[in-house]
Symmetry: C2
């Protein structure tokens, strides 16, 4: 999230899925070995973010994401459906549940990632993901709309915000219209790292 | 500022000038010796925030504030005008310029604080404050509306955000409607401290 509260810039489309300027939200992560390894890239840096990312990835057993994070404003699946942004070997390496209005058979990818398409709502996706995670954590990875739905429904036990010291000025907010005092999460840790501050919260 | 971007909570009024929950935005500061000393209080803690606050206070030669920060939604001054929230010995100890639509003679307080009431706009207030600061910094201290006007007008050379890891859920945002890519400020430093993360930016 940018300092001014945006998790994507304005004018999101297929060419700029994170909106204008939004790609800089991830500048801190790309050089890290801990980010590069699950993306099939070698080498990389080690810094204060490394243990934060390593611990996070180790704990996640399943991911839930909105349809935009899977592959843009994807409409009804055709005969040759779009397989999303993530390529043949997505970086998740675990079951992923995609919130959508359009049913589709699951998509099995290289490297252990499976995409399961869930049409009956966020609670169903969470329940399926909990089973698939087999005791590990379920991560509502994004985008903002999907994340906000889980916050609204008070289904979030922990939240980690990677706060990036840039201003986007406009775009999509994660924290919008949640109402006074929400989300009811309590701060438990702050880690300052190059290009990012990691803030961790738990259910109050 | 709260993690979700609010510099005051909802329902600001005379009894709750920072809105519901907004008082917790300053919880990190109250125990600090560096905060207590200019407020005429003894003792206090020393931690990672101390050099940040000491340096900031040492550099400020004049303050500009909105009328709400001076004393609520103050209307035309009567025969016995309200002297604001700040008591007989305000914690500024330097010239303060109050943005208002209602002219009034300056108010001299104990301890070196003077309030000058400026009715001809933010640029005039800034120019007067620059002269009064005699080479030191001018701080547009708040509230949100006054600060946002200076950001809009691109008159901010440096900004320090004290980011507090709480959620207010609703209230007044500092960063609202600034437009893509604004403010044009670049991150220069982060200091993680108990109950707050200090983020410093400079003109890009």
């Amino acid at each position: 999230m940018s300092v001014d509260g945006f998790v994507a810039g304005p004018q999101q489309d297929a060419d700029t899925p994170l909106g204008v300027g939004g790609e800089h939200l991830h500048d801190w992560a790309f050089p890290l070995a801990a980010w590069r390894e699950p993306h099939g890239l070698e080498d990389g840096e080690v810094n204060e973010s490394t243990p934060v990312i390593e611990e996070r990835l180790a704990r996640i057993g399943a991911t839930v994401m909105g349809r935009n994070m899977f592959g843009g404003g994807t409409g009804p699946w055709g005969d040759d459906p779009w397989n999303g942004w993530w390529g043949d070997n997505p970086p998740f390496h675990h079951p992923v549940f995609v919130l959508t209005h359009h049913a589709r058979t699951p998509l099995m990818c290289e490297g252990g990632t499976t995409f399961t398409f869930v049409t009956d709502g966020i609670e169903s996706a969470l329940e399926q993901a909990k089973v698939a995670a087999a005791g590990k954590d379920v991560s509502p990875a994004g985008g903002a709309y999907a994340g906000r739905q889980y916050l609204h429904a008070n289904l979030v036990d922990e939240m980690e915000i990677d706060l990036v010291p840039i201003f986007l000025g406009d775009g999509e907010r994660l924290f919008e219209n949640l109402g006074a005092g929400n989300p009811r999460l309590t701060h438990v840790a702050t880690v300052a790292a190059p290009g990012v501050t990691h803030l961790k919260f738990e259910r109050a």
